[in-house]
């Protein structure tokens, strides 16, 4: 079932329950952002901490390869700016300090 936009009171599910999982993917939070995260790829060790901590769908596993200390890793964590709301949690949690938060409009 596709959730209807602006349902009438009769069309609401009992208790406003969302009866399907993963529907927050339909809610694009990217326009909340006033700061955006930027990764220094040289510092990134592809540990995935940012992916685990991101409260939205913004950090995703991009199919890229990365060499870390001589070994090849096939996963690389990239941003999806449709969802990234700029909370900065990834930057705070990154163990190598690879992520910096930059004000929108600046580079």
């Amino acid at each position: 079932m596709k959730t209807k936009l602006n349902p009438t009171w009769r069309e609401l599910e009992l208790g406003c329950t969302v009866v399907e999982a993963g529907t927050s993917a339909e809610y694009k939070t990217g326009d909340w952002r006033s700061f955006y995260p930027k990764t220094d790829e040289d510092k990134c060790i592809a540990c995935g901490v940012c992916y685990l901590f991101c409260p939205d769908h913004s950090r995703h596993i991009a199919p890229r390869k990365k060499k870390v200390e001589g070994a090849m890793y096939t996963h690389y964590f990239d941003f999806n700016f449709q969802f990234c709301k700029g909370c900065g949690i990834c930057a705070a949690e990154c163990p190598t300090g690879a992520i910096v938060m930059i004000e929108e409009g600046k580079k």
């Binding site: 609401l12 599910e13 009992l14 208790g15 406003c16």
Partner: protein
């Protein structure tokens, strides 16, 4: 479950114990509660029944009433039949979660052993606690003796879990003067009670096998519709409540109505009461009738959904309606019951004078004579054509 108590004939039993026995008969799955006087005996005894192995339920002792209601929300959301009990400060502490329980349409049943609110700290009976929770979206039922407590508790589960209702229900009883009194109560066969309440089949529930989200944010585009849906559900629960009471009368013999009446035929004046003190007031009605006063009594059983139309039909023709509240709406428009009764009558073309009396606060006794005095005073106001907004009974000047 075997019958723990003899069925079919009245047994002398404390009302709190009787309520916990009947909750067990209703086959609850989860009880989450925090003890508070005068509710304590209800949850203590339920804990015993579970510990004795007579009821297959989880008893969750929590650290506060806020947690008790939160645990109830969780257990009801996974589809467990859930019961709790509280009163007074405990009910006040639950306040925010009460809205969540009704907003999520969770059929929790709660016993509220009506008690005063602090300050000054007071553990005795009045209805201040429940009146502060009028607008929480729960079905709210009052009782006036132990048999009614037992009967309404059974009805509460069936009302709450009806697919057309799916709302939590509060059964009110007076602190101490009902909860701690030994009364003759007739119990029913456990199998029959379980047959009557049925097996709870939640239309929606939290289940990892079929994930869904309970309690999402309701943005401005949704919130009004959500509130409208809850309002209609509570208003329309009335029909189911009537059906359940009728079914109860057929099955177990005792009949219940939203407004109970006593000697109202040909009555020009009506005394309206709520809860356990109604029985004392009935004795006053008998005495007044002996004296030739044309007075009858209306006892409000169903507080939410509020029976506006029934009240208008029943009270509209009277000359005077004297409403007795056990709650002070401080510096407000009168006791909660009186002001709502006035609302029901105001738009009638002709309406009685409504006189509000407030008494029985914090466990203060109200005597038969005092109820008779209220009626006489009220009749005097009707003759004069005017009454104060409300007045307090039995206060030392």
């Amino acid at each position: 479950m075997k019958n723990r108590i003899e069925v079919g004939k009245p047994v002398g039993i404390e009302v709190s114990i009787a309520q916990s026995e009947v909750v067990a008969q209703c086959d609850v799955d989860v009880i989450a509660a925090y003890p508070i006087t005068p509710q304590t005996h209800i949850v203590e005894h339920l804990a015993e029944i579970v510990a004795d192995g007579d009821l297959d339920a989880a008893f969750i002792p929590v650290e506060s009433e806020h947690s008790a209601m939160s645990a109830c929300v969780g257990s009801s959301a996974v589809g467990a039949r859930t019961f709790t009990a509280t009163c007074s400060q405990g009910l006040a502490l639950m306040h925010e979660i009460l809205y969540i329980a009704s907003g999520l349409r969770l059929p929790i049943v709660m016993s509220c052993v009506n008690r005063a609110l602090s300050a000054p700290i007071n553990i005795w009976g009045d209805q201040s606690d429940i009146m502060a929770e009028r607008d929480t979206g729960w079905v709210q039922i009052f009782t006036e003796n132990g048999q009614e407590v037992v009967d309404q508790t059974i009805c509460a589960f069936r009302i709450a879990e009806d697919r057309r209702v799916m709302l939590p229900v509060i059964v009110n009883l007076d602190g101490f003067s009902m909860s701690h009194v030994i009364e003759p109560i007739r119990f029913y066969d456990t199998k029959q009670v379980r047959g009557f309440v049925g097996v709870y089949q939640p239309p929606l529930r939290l289940d990892p096998a079929q994930p869904m989200m309970f309690g999402p944010v309701g943005i401005p585009e949704i919130y009004t519709e959500a509130k409208k849906a809850n309002d209609v559900a509570l208003i329309e629960s009335r029909q189911v409540i009537e059906e359940v009471w009728a079914a109860f009368a057929r099955e177990f013999g005792n009949a219940y109505r939203a407004l109970e009446t006593y000697r109202t035929d040909d009555a020009e004046y009506l005394l309206l009461t709520v809860g356990g003190m109604s029985e004392t007031a009935s004795v006053a009605i008998d005495a007044l009738r002996e004296q030739g006063v044309k007075v009858g009594q209306v006892k409000l059983r169903l507080w939410r959904p509020f029976p506006h139309d029934d009240l208008a039909a029943l009270l509209g023709k009277a000359r005077g309606v004297f409403v007795f509240d056990r709650c002070l709406s401080t510096a407000g428009p009168g006791g909660p019951v009186a002001s709502e009764v006035k609302t029901s009558l105001y738009n009638l073309r002709e309406r009685p004078l409504v006189v509000g009396f407030i008494g029985g606060l914090g466990g203060r006794d109200v005597t038969v004579q005092q109820f008779a005095d209220m009626v006489h005073k009220g009749i005097g106001y009707v003759a004069a054509g005017a009454a104060p907004v409300y007045e307090m009974v039995g206060v030392r000047e």
